[in-house]
């Protein structure tokens, strides 16, 4: 009887853990695939289908270090546009990205896509985080 209870508890625990992980994964996939669509229609013309950018005019999106160091600002770049010197892979870019006009959920989706594509692996960026970061835009 005792063993039975222990095993049952263990099993329930495992199931819960599994379900939970699964849910996170599903959530991630949802953001990622929606983000891919946003990327293709709203970003790819400038940043390229492989996030390669365009010569010295438009920066590539595969500098994971830049993305990490400016993580809470990314959503602001999309919301308000970006202008002025930035350094990507040791090169200075001085272009102008117009404001994207995307909704907060779309920005969260596209950031999730970008930061997990082109060699980046930074994980999920969800709506809650986007909304919190948006409040802190400079």
């Amino acid at each position: 009887m005792r063993y039975f209870v222990v095993i049952a508890l263990l099993l329930t625990g495992l199931c819960a853990l599994y379900a939970c992980q699964n849910e996170q994964e599903i959530e991630f996939k949802r953001y990622f695939s929606a983000g891919q669509l946003v990327y293709q229609t709203r970003c790819q013309n400038c940043h390229g289908n492989e996030g390669q950018g365009l010569a010295a005019l438009i920066p590539p999106l595969n500098d994971a270090e830049f993305l990490r160091n400016n993580h809470s600002q990314l959503v602001c770049y999309l919301q308000n546009g970006l202008k002025g010197d930035i350094i990507i892979h040791n090169s200075t870019y001085n272009g102008h990205m117009p404001a994207s006009g995307l909704s907060p959920i779309e920005t969260a989706q596209v950031i999730t896509y970008v930061q997990n594509s082109f060699g980046n692996q930074i994980g999920l960026y969800d709506l809650k985080q986007a909304e919190a970061d948006l409040k802190k835009c400079k």
């Binding site: 013309n45 365009l54 010569a55 010295a56 005019l57 438009i58 117009p98």
Partner: protein, 218 residues
């Protein structure tokens, strides 16, 4: 009209192939055409006169004057853009770089990018853009001229351009690349935002280079 021109061109291509057995593949000739009858040695002959690109005068990114004469003896590709264009121009010029890299070392192929926003795209702005795009030398010219003339000239290239405050960036324009031969006739139009069509353009330029008619010294 959209269908008629390619259809007519296809017919022309077909006839060119089937009646000139010695000829290699030839590119069609686009645009309006006129039959002109004249008397030659007492005989009446009818010639087809094709639409050609009219005279123009612009300044390139080096501040040098560029006219239709500057293109004498060259096959060239033309497009219309502006440096602050947020929509299709980055894709167009990402693809145009493929054309540039293919022909930058000789071959008498030039690229002309007419700015449709000359008040912003000064010579200095065009030069900076060229530098950032990584282009040098005299194969790819970025051109500034009078806005109204550019709009009119675009029509001769069969490309639609117009100002529209409601459009992204303030202009509507189509991203076509237009291939012009040494006789200044239109030999192809390609969607510059489609990498595959731009590959076809590169192939077509080589076909045109091999066309005996193009070895005529102007």
């Amino acid at each position: 009209m959209r269908i008629i021109i390619p259809a007519f061109a296809a017919m022309l291509l077909w006839s060119a192939c089937s009646f000139n057995k010695n000829d290699q593949k030839r590119l069609p000739i686009y645009g309006n055409r006129e039959a002109v009858t004249k008397t030659l040695n007492g005989k009446t002959v009818t010639d087809t006169v094709y639409q050609t690109i009219p005279k123009f005068e612009y300044v390139n990114q080096y501040g040098k004057t560029i006219t239709n004469k500057s293109l004498d003896g060259s096959i060239y590709v033309a497009d219309f853009f502006f440096t602050s264009c947020p929509s299709i121009c980055p894709i167009m010029h990402r693809n145009m770089l493929n054309v540039y890299n293919e022909f930058k070392n000789g071959g008498n192929v030039k690229i002309l990018s007419y700015s449709i926003d000359p008040s912003h795209d000064s010579v200095a702005v065009l030069k900076t853009y060229a530098d950032k795009l990584g282009i040098a030398g005299d194969t790819w010219w970025l051109l500034q001229g009078k806005k109204e003339e550019t709009y009119k000239l675009a029509e001769s290239y069969l490309v639609a351009v117009k100002e529209d405050k409601g459009a992204e960036g303030g202009y509507v324009h189509s991203g076509y690349f237009v291939l012009i031969d040494k006789q200044k006739r239109i030999r192809g139009t390609y969607n510059g935002t489609d990498e595959k069509e731009v590959s076809k353009l590169i192939t077509d330029i080589k076909t045109l280079q091999a066309d005996p008619e193009q070895s005529i010294v102007q």
